[in-house]
């Protein structure tokens, strides 16, 4: 063979030939799979953000592959959840990529408003939208009725002070209405009036020997879900767990004791537990103190002399006994609560024996009753009795997370704004019937749900312009019908929303906003867990999927610019003059810059290493964004002991001098007695009973003859605050909520009741209350007591998207929204809506 042929052969077959170079193999059977070995590697990067699917506000990380968000996990840098996130965090992926999101600003063209009216939305530009809103505000200012502007806030981040806090003040309205009162306020009442803590407690799971869970479901819903879930096996190993809950919750299914209380009657059990702890000498003496001679005089039915007892860290234990506990035997409580006396006694004894490592865990379920403020005091008082307050294995406050407040805005409040700000509030908080005593202040809480009534009655006046973000008030407030009517009445309503929700249907302008977890930079503070407090960063991890803006900052900025164009520059001047980059001094020139500068200013104490603080050291702004979380030091136990509880007496108050002062101030404001306040707020207490945790009989709307069943609602472990029902992952695993069904929203009814009513499993039933009706599927379920029907909140959307509704076009919901049938009642002392405690009776009929 000659060389030429050989070379040719070499080229064809890929053989080596001397003197010629062979650059690549010739292959018949194979192709080079460039990806093969290389691809079995991580293709993305984990970037920090925060999940606000519930108020645990978990630091998380998102896995970004080619600019797409593909996975979620807990942020391993966070000490509160130590790298874990719960099931709901993953659902956020289906939220951000939901095609049913609002993708651009829209304007209503049908002037008529109502559920049956088609809004006939048409697209408009952001600039047009801002001009229209600015026009309405300028008109209010021209007429000097800026108080007729109301800003509504639902969930929020640390930047809420801009859109919700300062913007209304600069324009001139006292009517910034948050959702806090429909969230949980009643459960904060007890901790505040015993140890001045208006906030969620941290519970020291890993160190405890007893968990007494009052409607709390920590492996499923708020609070500290990933941490609680993670340590639950250990807690079960070392501690006893008792769940007081009308339904067999996820946590109750994994507890030692289930006490299926008649809804709203929790107070009887709590009082009886206190009674047993005292009569059996199980209180924790190093905290509470003891009888001077060591002889226990807490005997059933007998009054005790206050002078016989010497207290240590507490105040008023004997007063409490005399006023509220001396007759509260387990037998007495059995009659009220439906729980056998022997079970109550056993739980009380076990709980007391675990002292001081014993937790009485408060939740909305046991406190958001019409008279639940006192249940909150009773149940939190149990922590006092066993000395677990501020103690190892007990109920904890949080370490501080130092941040900067927003720059002062008072210089930008002009005469018109000042006049508007001084007008009475639309929500009636602080009125006689709504003390709303947050932080000892009459009217310290905004009465969210009452705004609908006020608007309808034009009392104290009408609202003309509403700016509303991260809300869905005609879905999330009890007795939604009033909200549909009120919204139809408001002449100009801007809804800033991710999805076209029920509230959107009544909007004049719809503004699409960022999804908090993926599309915006911000910070979230106030959350804690596992004995650590933290600040967690949110981040713009992906290019926003649609033409969306950040509600709290970008939209506020654009509105400021539009108002300036129309002759009112104060808002934009506040933003331009008072906000500047803490490092470069640069002032913001657009909404996105404004957003970043605001976050940077707010968080500066945490990323500036020269600021002294007790917690992580973070070297600079970029590092804070990268790490995603700043952790405090571990909680310093017993720091409030020794008279630092912040109450009037400085002690942990069983008899609350602090509440007494607040109630007396409220009564004085209205020229009435405290007894009158009790009456006006539907409480039965007279005299000094108003100042201690005590049993109040459950208050229910609807008479028993017509509405024989008590309606009890609960939360879902898949709820992202009622915004996740449009994800298929939610629907596919809805049965992870014990008793629930996939792709459905069932009414859980005990088989005994079902039989009486002729209802079979899977029948459609009409559930009617004095305020409304829904039609849903019945589920026969042993996990609820006879006489009580149970239903999860979160479904029943007639808007929101193609999965949340059975038929979006026909407004046909999947299931039924509980708030259609729940009566609009309040725990007025705390200013909380009262959605729990069986506040509403229903009748159930097969259809």
């Amino acid at each position: 063979m000659n060389r030429r042929n050989f070379l040719k052969l070499s080229a064809v077959t890929g053989l080596f030939v001397a003197g010629a170079s062979q650059t690549k193999p010739v292959l018949n059977a194979f192709s080079k799979n460039a990806q093969a070995t290389e691809t079995n590697e991580a293709q993305g990067e984990w970037i920090a953000s925060t999940c606000q699917g519930c108020t645990t506000w978990c630091p998380v990380q998102i896995y970004i592959v080619d600019g797409r968000a593909t996975k979620v996990r807990g942020n391993p840098n966070a000490k509160a959840n130590h790298g874990h996130s719960c099931v709901r965090s993953h659902l956020a992926l289906q939220q951000v990529y939901d095609p049913d999101r609002v993708k651009q600003p829209m304007k209503r063209t049908n002037p008529k408003k109502g559920r049956e009216e088609d809004p006939q939305f048409v697209p408009i530009s952001w600039e047009e939208a801002m001009d229209e809103i600015a026009d309405k505000i300028i008109e209010l200012r021209k007429n000097e009725e800026t108080h007729k502007l109301s800003v509504w806030r639902g969930r929020y981040t640390a930047l809420n002070g801009i859109l919700y806090g300062n913007l209304p003040k600069i324009i001139g309205t006292p009517n910034n209405i948050s959702h806090s009162s429909i969230c949980a306020e009643a459960e904060k009442f007890g901790p505040y009036y015993s140890e001045t803590m208006w906030g969620y407690r941290d519970y020291d799971h890993t160190e405890t020997y007893y968990e007494l869970l009052w409607g709390a479901d920590p492996v499923s819903s708020n609070r500290q879900i990933p941490h609680s879930t993670n340590v639950w096996g250990k807690v079960r190993d070392q501690a006893k767990i008792a769940c007081i809950d009308p339904r067999l919750s996820a946590t109750a299914a994994k507890a030692d004791e289930w006490l299926p209380v008649i809804p709203g009657e929790d107070g009887a059990i709590a009082a009886a537990i206190a009674h047993v702890l005292l009569t059996e000498g199980l209180w924790y003496k190093p905290f509470v103190g003891d009888f001077k001679d060591g002889v226990n005089r807490f005997v059933n039915g007998r009054t005790v002399s206050e002078s016989a007892f010497e207290e240590n860290e507490t105040y008023g234990v004997v007063k409490w006994w005399n006023l509220s506990l001396k007759d509260a035997t387990p037998e007495w409580a059995e009659e009220k609560s439906g729980i056998p006396a022997e079970q109550i006694r056993r739980v009380a004894q076990d709980f007391g024996r675990a002292a001081p490592r014993a937790i009485s865990f408060l939740s909305p379920g046991a406190c958001m009753h019409v008279r639940g403020g006192y249940t909150s005091m009773l149940t939190h008082g149990l922590n006092g009795l066993v000395g677990s307050v501020d103690n190892v294995g007990g109920t904890l406050d949080g370490e501080s997370v130092p941040v900067n407040s927003l720059p002062d805005f008072t210089a930008y409040v002009d005469r018109i704004a000042e006049k508007g700000n001084s007008m009475p509030r639309i929500d009636h908080g602080g009125s006689l019937k709504f003390p709303a005593l947050k932080d000892s202040t009459s009217g310290g809480v905004k009465m969210t749900n009452y705004v609908a009534d006020a608007v309808l009655a034009e009392d104290p006046y009408d609202l003309k312009v509403v700016l509303s973000y991260w809300t869905n008030f005609n879905f999330s407030n009890q007795n939604t019908k009033r909200w549909d009517e009120a919204l139809a009445k408001i002449p100009f309503h801007v809804h800033m929303t991710v999805n076209p929700a029920e509230q959107t249907h009544f909007a004049d302008i719809v503004l699409p906003v960022t999804h908090h977890m993926f599309e915006r930079l911000s910070a979230v503070r106030g959350s804690k867990g596992n004995t650590y407090a933290h600040l967690s960063m949110q981040n713009r991890l992906i290019d926003p999927v649609f033409d969306v803006k950040i509600d709290e900052t970008e939209i506020a900025w654009m509105l400021g610019e539009a108002l300036e164009r129309k002759g009112f520059p104060n808002l934009i001047n506040y933003f331009r003059n008072e906000f500047s980059d803490p490092e470069t001094g640069k002032s913001p020139e657009n909404g996105l810059e404004f957003n970043e500068i605001a976050v940077k200013m707010y968080t500066e104490p945490l990323w500036n290493p020269s600021v002294q603080k007790a917690g992580d050291t973070i070297n600079g702004w970029d590092e804070l964004k990268e790490i995603g979380v700043w952790n405090s030091v571990k909680y310093n136990y017993r720091k409030k002991w020794g008279g630092n509880f912040g109450t009037k007496t400085g002690k942990f108050e069983f008899y609350s001098e602090t509440l007494k002062e607040a109630l007396e101030a409220h009564a004085e404001k209205h020229n009435v007695s405290v007894d009158d306040v009790m009456e006006a707020t539907f409480n039965t207490a007279k005299g000094e009973l108003a100042f201690v945790g005590h049993y109040e009989p459950a208050y229910r709307v609807g008479n028993e003859q017509e509405y024989p069943l008590i309606f009890s609602e609960h939360r879902s472990r898949l709820n992202r605050e009622a915004r996740s029902a449009n994800t298929s992952w939610y629907q596919e695993f809805k049965d992870a909520d014990p008793g629930d069904e996939v792709w459905d929203d069932v009414l859980k009814i005990n088989p005994v009741d079902a039989e009486k009513l002729g209802i079979a499993n899977g029948d459609m039933v009409k559930v009617t209350s004095p305020v409304g009706e829904i039609t849903v599927k019945a589920k026969l379920w042993e996990g609820t007591r006879p006489g009580v029907v149970n239903k999860c909140y979160g479904q029943g959307h007639w808007a929101y998207g193609h999965i949340a509704s059975l038929d979006f076009k026909k407004q046909l919901p999947r299931g039924g929204n509980n708030n259609i049938i729940l009566a609009d009642v309040y725990e007025a002392l705390s200013g909380s809506s009262a959605r729990h405690g069986g506040s509403t009776r229903v009748k159930v009929e097969k259809v």
């Binding site: 691809t39 797409r68 049913d100 996820a250 998207g801």
Partner: protein, 229 residues
């Protein structure tokens, strides 16, 4: 010697939250109704003495796998590490494996998955997007698509074949636990190598005792349940 992979699920730690099943869908790009990870719920007793039990399920990677025996084209096979795997290329969609599996953990693709994302109609014209629009913006048909699954299995399967849990063999191959294990907030799960005497799985199995699903069938499942829910 190859490995002999097995999973432990500690029911005492499990809180029944279904995170394993949701993240499985996330990792493996499965469509609605195609759940490689699922659960059995048992409720017994009468009020107030009610017992609720949640048992997470998945392919048991049986040592003596009926699906492997049933498959006429060897699309179901045991790999060298004891996994029961499915080869999409060979699968002819005859469903013999599904019929033979006593655990019901194999799903059949009646249609191409994630067809939803090809739809071109928006829910509210002008206001919301069509699924296809979102796919195009994201740059993937399934916007949160996980491409890492492609390494040794079809990233998304297709019409006419079955699919099932591969125990995240792509993750195991790079010394990571399956995604359901990594994301379980209760840390209830673990995958270990029974052939390795130093693997922590032996301690887990020894410490708590264990049971398997339908041991009577002789399939020798490799998913071991520890303790009680």
């Amino acid at each position: 010697m190859g490995k002999n992979y097995a999973m432990t699920i500690d029911l005492h730690k499990c809180v029944g939250c279904a995170a394993c099943s949701v993240v499985c869908k996330n990792e493996n790009n499965t469509d609605i109704g195609m759940n490689w990870s699922h659960h059995i719920i048992n409720v017994s007793g009468k009020f107030p003495n009610v017992k609720y039990e949640y048992i997470p399920t998945l392919c048991n990677h049986c040592e003596d796998a009926p699906c492997v025996k049933a498959c006429p084209v060897k699309a179901m096979y045991k790999d060298e590490n004891g996994l029961t795997l499915h080869d999409a290329d060979k699968c002819i969609g005859c469903k013999s494996c599904m019929a033979s599996c006593p655990y019901g953990v194999i799903s059949f693709n009646k249609k191409d998955p994630h067809q939803y994302w090809t739809e071109q109609t928006a829910l509210v014209e002008g206001m919301t997007a069509s699924p296809k629009e979102v796919s195009e913006i994201a740059g993937e048909k399934l916007p949160y698509y996980n491409p890492e699954r492609e390494y040794n299995y079809e990233g998304m399967r297709y019409r006419g074949i079955v699919e099932k849990c591969q125990l995240c063999d792509h993750r195991l191959a790079r010394d990571e636990q399956p995604y359901c294990v990594s994301r379980c907030p209760a840390e209830a799960r673990y995958v270990g190598d029974l052939n390795d005497p130093n693997d922590p799985i032996h301690e887990l199995l020894g410490k708590y005792g264990h049971k398997k699903l339908r041991e009577d069938l002789g399939t020798k499942p490799k998913v071991f349940y520890l303790r009680e829910f």
